[in-house]
Symmetry: C2
Subunit: 102 residues, 2 copies
């Protein structure tokens, strides 16, 4: 199981639109085969900073996400709203070690 | 619902011990009232960097975690293994918006 933390920096004027587009992406992403979580979080200190917590059963399932229609739509939709490029940080999962814990 | 991302930097010689102590803390933390997740992750790029993804129903439940016996034991156990101080980053939860999504 793998997790990618995607840090997203949004132009302040586009925060509301970004939240709406990301909620739509969330709803579709959690239906993907192999998806474990797709949490959308907003920084408590800066309303224009977001974190996407993307957990998948395998590297292949995580890679497949980037080929889905909903991801590609989200990517295009939010492109002009980025204050700077997104940063993805990869992790391996230690706990919960069992699939049933997800 | 709130999430704290705790970034942990461990001395290389203590990584194995840290994983064992954190797995024990994970097992107890997910039993706390109000806990939603307590994921323990290891950086894919640096085996000595870890992320604790701590999600709680309320700020009060998150604060109560720091008074539990298992947290205090973990804190004492890992103290000498830190390469530098931990960093906690707070988020508010946008998705899943419903408790049932956790």
């Amino acid at each position: 199981m793998v997790v990618t933390n995607v840090h997203v920096y949004v132009k302040e004027d586009n925060v509301t639109d970004f939240i709406q587009a990301s909620a739509e992406n969330h709803r579709a992403s959690v239906q993907e085969p192999g998806n474990l979580r797709f949490d959308v979080l907003q920084s408590a200190d800066d309303f224009s900073k977001f974190l996407l917590y993307e957990a998948y059963e395998t590297e292949e399932a995580a890679a497949a996400h980037k080929k889905t229609d909903h991801y590609l739509k989200w990517k295009d939709t939010v492109a002009d709203w980025m204050a700077k490029p997104r940063e993805g940080v990869k992790y391996t999962v230690l706990c919960p070690a069992e699939r049933s814990g997800w």
